[in-house]
Amino acid sequence: MAAMELTATQIERIEHYLNRKHVKHVDIRIEVLDHIILDIEALIEKENKDFETVFYTVTSQWNTQFAETSSSLFGIGFIAPRILIHKAKGIYRTYFFMLIASYFLPLIFFSYMDYSFSELAQFYVNKLLHIAAIFFASFFLFLLIKKERSKLKTTYSFLLKTQSMAIFIGLFCVFTANFFDKNGAFNPISIGLLIAFVYTTLVYFYFYIKHKQAVNTYKIL
């Protein structure tokens, strides 16, 4: 006897359930959908029960994974199903701690260093840092627009969404008049922010590439 297979309408019912639970990120959705379908088919065959009964049994086991939650890593504004938050945290954790380090290490280093630049050196270094700020802010904005145009959602597009607000740090760096203090030394806060923003832009670029790769992997349907 051929193995029991769900009808297109029954699969649509599961898809609707996943939509209601906001499981829309394709890398997670396809494996969850596949798992639920296989679980339901096996249970119908094994226990000889109707689809509705088995559907509720199987989906009730998944509800905890789809409960909406947030993480301190991304902020309470970014709410998503637990399974997505968990995966995103696994990817982002290392980058988060490096981001913190990219701000605080220069801040501490330049706060305790005893040095000063000549006025001419300050002028040229300041110009150079402004050019760097404009370049990275423009690149970040470009990636932000590209990401917004991408229709397919992946865990990486969720991560990109959580990092999008960094553009304001970029704009702050662009409009910072002077990266030096009155003593001719680097302003540790401005330099820290610029380095953290450069780092965020590079991470943002990496996540964007990974998102595009994921889109290419899953668009074969």
């Binding site: 297979e5 297109a8 699969i11 890398d27 997670i28 396809i30 494996e31 969850v32 959908l33 596949d34 798992h35 379908i37 296989l38 679980d39 086991q61 998944w62 905890t64 994974q65 399974i83 968990h86 995966k87 696994g90 990817i91 992997t217 899953y218 074969i220 349907l221």
Partner: protein, 121 residues
């Protein structure tokens, strides 16, 4: 995270919990590539139902291994839907060997602790 398994035998399940990643790596080393549901069924069959991995434990473990670069993903079309297969990366294969060696060492130590061989020598 939910309990590791749906089984009533929770004492054993807690013992298995810390070994989930090693179990997954070992299965993938044996079977080249597997999808989530297949892993749960394979483990259930191998252990004659003693160990049942829940979705709440399986997917976080798979995603963690993927994020660590130990697993790679391959997608295949099955009927009208996609199926996501996991397979070991090169570093995943090396890590499997390390984890299995660690596991062997752990089992040996536990054996010595739980069932020491007394000798009159």
């Amino acid at each position: 995270m939910r309990a590791f398994t749906k089984d009533k035998n929770m004492g054993n399940q807690k013992l298995y919990k810390g070994s989930l990643q090693t179990i997954i790596l070992k299965l993938l080393a044996q079977n080249n590539k597997m999808y989530g549901y297949e892993i749960t069924q394979y483990v259930k069959e191998l252990t004659k139902g003693e160990l049942q991995i829940t979705e709440g434990a399986l997917y976080p473990a798979l995603h963690k291994l993927e994020a660590d670069g130990l697993l790679d993903v391959e997608v295949a079309k099955v009927g009208n839907r996609l199926r996501k297969y996991y397979k070991l990366t090169e570093s995943g294969s090396k890590e499997t060997a390390n984890k299995l060696a660690e596991m062997q060492e752990f089992l040996k130590t536990m054996q010595q602790l739980v069932n020491p061989r007394f000798s009159l020598d």
